[in-house]
Subunit: 379 residues, 2 copies
């Protein structure tokens, strides 16, 4: 018999909450998990078979770590690509492929890829310096996004008028037309090396305006089927064009005139798929494993209405985390707690998430609002 | 704020598959888990915060291990009770309580408890030696069960006639009237220190006659509501009488004339509750954590029809385990794989389980039969 999933070692670059939830699923398949993360207290530390504290952006560290694994995946894009390329050359399976990570690491290249592949996205222009921004003829207001290393709302700013340019990033950026959107949505698509593809039902996101982080995520969407189908088709087209193996999260806008524009991509399990653990037949984490191990993809259908609430560190609190109101929210039916094992909280740090499922969509939303008001991460 | 679940250390005696699935849930609550198991390759080894290889039946080992934890639980009954009693005296929380484990460890005491508390059970007689069996006036055929250390079908034999007594156990046993049952069923009840109690819906079990192990488990039952309510009431009465904290699995028979008789108890997560991971809103493992940490109990309702298949080591195979047919069964919708992380297989060893969920009960059963035929653990 050929080598099978339970014989293989999975190396993961990054040991945060995404790696943690991936390991929770990997346990079901006897997978041996190896984690590389620079934080000695990373959320994955105690639950991986092997944990190495080290840089995921350093060539030697990533290369030597990767040599120990059979299949290598990521839970964050900011990793050393050259090491992954070298590992691929030596026959290691790296999923998503290094070329996909390289493309997605750079929001400028990502946008050009959309343009070249007829993927609908907001008009944009690439700039390298603050001077370039000043010389741009782009109409105010617009969004300015750093091409590299932005995440969780960081590396993004709104430029309302010429005066804002003084404090603009002086780095390679993209200028993007402000999208007058009605809703932010996401579709997660999975693709295995055989080319089998599945999408999870489209979800709707509501953002915390202050932190620019997802506050509530509602699954499934109640947008008309035609719109949902369009969003799923866009996601599949991107996954096919990229020829990706693994998960791809596609964040999109629905504009006020009903267009769908792609915002950005993440080639890995994503915050917009956490609800799938309880809300769908297969979770995004198991689907990622099925995809990268070239196994049949699971059933993505929703089981129930699900609302996911990101549990962010409370403003004004920094220090050892305490979860106020946990017992209260656990008394609500259909509530699932996911704490990420982070010892210290700080304002807006992602400390966990809560998913609430309910046969009634409005019921789930009401419960989510109660949870948001009741549960606080303080120090 | 008082100490809360994420601050506490959970010590578990036993590091097998039950501990493993308990840890998978404990991760969601940031629980620090400590495991004691005599097997250096125990299924929990790599996923616990702290793993100690040592005897769970030795006083000093259990006592010293328990000192490191805040709350102590078990995943197998055969543990050193005296150490747990001492830990309780010193203020540690031991759930289930040592007196409950002591009672359940001895099938003779268990039966007497049923009798004293008007719990319906088959007529029985206690014996100490083979000579006692010979002198018994119990009518043939009957069941002979060792009072201690029987599990997974071991320590149980059928005595058909006087000739069988020659090979009978020469140890403290109970003789039990043969129950002419129509179905074996189970109800899992949970109780927290506040006295809150919930039962999972009654399930039906089908046994492998050769191994005397559960082969299929079907949830929920389709017996008339009145019978299900009776079974749940019996389970709750036992939990109340025991004043137990934690889970209690109650295995019962439905006789051909519609009576319910209690067979035996397990004060912990149990094979008859594995389907709850995907089939019910709360899983038995999370419910056990909620109970022992005195948190509100979760919603036990079924989400879907679920059939659980124990994945037993194939006859004639002993050695490093291989999972034949895994990819095939993963192509079936609604199939969940749980491998237990055991390196070596042997005939009838519990190597994992598969749960299949389906909105249609017959559909779930058909899929389960296909899985049973297709998936084999070989060496």
């Amino acid at each position: 018999m050929a080598k099978q999933i339970s014989d293989l070692k999975l190396g993961v670059l990054g040991g945060g909450q995404l790696g943690r939830m991936l390991i929770q699923e990997a346990i079901n398949y006897n997978l041996t998990t190896l984690i590389l993360d620079p934080d000695t207290n990373a959320p994955c530390k105690h639950i991986a078979n092997y944990f190495e504290c080290g840089s995921i952006t350093d060539f030697d560290t990533v290369y030597n770590f990767g040599k120990k694994a059979d299949i290598i995946t990521i839970e964050i894009e900011k990793v050393n690509i050259e090491a992954l390329e070298q590992l691929e050359k030596e026959g290691k399976q790296v999923y998503p492929q290094s070329r996909v990570i390289r493309l997605i690491q750079d929001k400028g290249v990502q946008k050009q890829f959309f343009k070249e592949n007829n993927i609908p996205t907001a008009p944009f222009q690439l700039v390298n310096t603050r001077e370039d921004i000043r010389n741009s003829s782009f109409a105010f207001p617009y969004m300015l996004k750093q091409r590299r290393d932005g995440y969780d709302g960081k590396g993004v700013m709104k430029i309302n008028h010429a005066g804002d340019i003084e404090k603009a990033f002086d780095a390679p950026c993209l200028i993007e037309e402000l999208v007058d959107f009605e809703k932010e949505i996401a579709v997660i698509v999975a693709r295995n090396p055989k080319g089998q593809m599945t999408t999870f039902p489209m979800v709707e996101m509501e953002f915390n305006p202050e932190a620019n982080l997802v506050e509530f995520l509602i699954s499934p969407s109640t947008y008309p089927e035609a719109i949902q189908l369009r969003a799923e088709t866009i996601a599949k087209n991107i996954a096919s064009s990229l020829n990706i193996t693994g998960l791809l999260a596609v964040e999109m806008f629905i504009t006020r005139n009903g267009d769908i524009l792609v915002n950005e991509l993440a080639p890995r399990p994503h915050n917009s798929g956490h609800h799938t653990i309880e809300g769908n037949y297969v979770s995004q984490f198991e689907q990622h494993l099925r995809a990268i191990f070239n196994l049949p993809l699971g059933d993505t259908r929703s089981i129930n209405n699900a609302v996911m609430i990101n549990l962010l560190g409370e403003k004004g609190h920094e220090g050892v985390a305490k979860y106020q109101g946990l017992e209260k929210i656990m008394a609500v039916e259909g509530v699932y707690v996911h704490l990420y094992g982070k010892k210290y909280t700080k304002p807006f740090r992602k400390m966990g998430h809560i998913t609430v499922v309910d046969q009634n969509r409005e019921g789930a939303i009401e419960k989510a609002k109660y949870i948001k008001e009741t549960l606080k991460v303080i120090a």
